[in-house]
Every structure is written in structure tokens, then in C-alpha cells.
Symmetry: C2
Subunit: 149 residues, 2 copies
Amino acid sequence: MLRLSKLTDYATVILSFMAKDKTQVLAAMEIASMTGIAQPTVSKILKLLVNANVLISTRGAKGGYALARTPEEISVAAVISALEGPIALTECSISHQGCEQASGCDIRGNWGLINQTIHNALESVTLADLTRPAAVPEEVFVPVASLYR
Amino acid sequence: MLRLSKLTDYATVILSFMAKDKTQVLAAMEIASMTGIAQPTVSKILKLLVNANVLISTRGAKGGYALARTPEEISVAAVISALEGPIALTECSISHQGCEQASGCDIRGNWGLINQTIHNALESVTLADLTRPAAVPEEVFVPVASLYR
DNA sequence: TTAAATAGGACTAGAATAGTCCTCAATTAA
DNA sequence: TTAATTGAGGACTATTCTAGTCCTATTTAA
């Protein structure tokens, strides 16, 4: 289904809540109660986001989490790769180790192009865009195929 | 990892083999031996592609599978959705049933936009593009964020 | 010193995926 | 008419992945 994991979905909810909140530092428990996501799950997600430098943490009493950058500077791609690892549609795009398909491997170059296109698409959408009121343009069309010709 | 399933990966290998082959009708076993993918797995994939009208099948002796359209008319999006169902990054994009997140649901409109962008990107790449020798352009950049402003 | 927090991992249950196999239906050719 | 070939459809299993929880150590404020 080419879909994101539930945890990534939660992450976007958590991050957009944090982006809208004025408070600088929020504890995991506060975030949990405000978003309705279970506290252990929230903690797990926050830790991953810290490791990916999307959030900054402060330990100890009065500690908590804060955005590492402004919402405009946090891309959806960064969030996804924080939770799910590198954005790549096919195994081959990550490493060429397991690619022993004799007759199909000349496809890979073009798959890489698709991967990159999607990555760039996700890179260009920021947390600020997500928190913005929904925009529903008439038509959204990005002709990737034209890049090949 | 935002990645495609192994079966979808196989499907692209199978389809590009079929696109390059001159023979009109190929049996599942022939495809299996030519691609190196196990026969039962090949059959499973071929059946899914028939159901999605990407391939046409002929039963009985001398039967087999053939492309339903020219490679130029078969999009990567069609292949992906044949194997994995509708292309949608979040659960919410498919149905709004399970969306009981109180504070985060105004994100959805924008997620939908991202979904559509990626869908269009995959729609615009065809089987013909995949079989073509790999093109490696200097830069591929599709500024999705500009659509919001 | 104590309480409040995060860090880092282990662990479990459930779901999804990959892969195989079996039976039935359709077609061709002898 | 019969036998051989080939796809259709679905059941089934094993493995992997995901979601979610929990425990212990570390850090910091009061």
C-alpha cells in the first residue's frame, strides 16, 4: 500500500502539536495527554526524533522535548526517515547487495530516479506546511516522466 | 522505510521482461525460468496483474499472459496498486473511519495533497520508462511546497 | 537527597508478508 | 473423447515486521 507506519503518522501529529504550542519545552507525559497517544508510545517516538536531530531533549526534572529547528526548517522527509529509516522504495536503492536478478537489474537506475523524485517531494514539504490550514488546489500534477525525455 | 513490497519489486522485473520480449504470450513457467523467480510466486503476481487489468491471460494449452496495453500505457502507479492496493501514505487517506485523533486531524487535508503528489509522480512513469536505459539527470527537483503558497 | 524526566534497550503479541500448494476450470491437440 | 497443458481461485504456513509496553540507568532541579 506504499504506506507510512502508524508511528510515523503519530509523529506528524505530535510534531504539529508541538509546532502549534507556544511552550518551549514539553514533557513526554504532557504530549501524551494532549494528543491522546499512549505515553510509552509517545516516548518511543520522541526518542527516535531526538536521534534524528528533529527534536532536542533536556533531561532531569523540568526537562522535556523541543523542536530542534523552526517548523519551516523541518521537512516531512526528515520525519519519515527518523521513524522508518532511509526513504527508498526498493531494497536495491539502499544497497546493491541482494540484487542478483539477472535480467531485471537495468531497471534500477530508473527506480533510483523515482525514489529521488519522491524523496524531493517529501523534502519540500515542511512541518509548517502541515500545520497550515488545508489547501485544496484544483489540480496537482508533477510530470515526472518528462524528466526522462 | 516507505518501501514497496518484494512482490511489487518482482512485478516490475517481470513486466519489464515481458515488455522487452517479442513473444506475445508467455506462460508463467517461462517467465519464472527467465527471471529466476520461483514459479508459484510468479503465478501469484501474474494473477494479481490480470485482476488489475495490467495483463491479459489466456487459459488452456498454449495459453499464458500478455500485456494488456503497450508499455507506454502502463504506469508504475497501476503496477503498485495492483500488488498493494490503493497508493496512500496514511490510513486516513483511504478511509476517515479510524481518525479519532482530536488535535491532529487538520493535518489530513495536507497529507492528502502529498499523497496525490506522489501518486501523480508514480502515474507519470510508465513501464516503457523503466525498460529504457537508465537516465541520470543532473538534478531532479519537484517543489511540492510551492503548491501550498 | 529526592523527585522528575529522558536514554536505551529488552520483550511480547499481533499483524502483515512471502511463499507454497491444492483443486477446479478452460483450452488445445491427438 | 481423452489427455495434456495452462490459468483461476483460494487455503495455508512460516517468517518477518510492527506496535506497544516495560524495566533499569542516568541526568538535573529543588
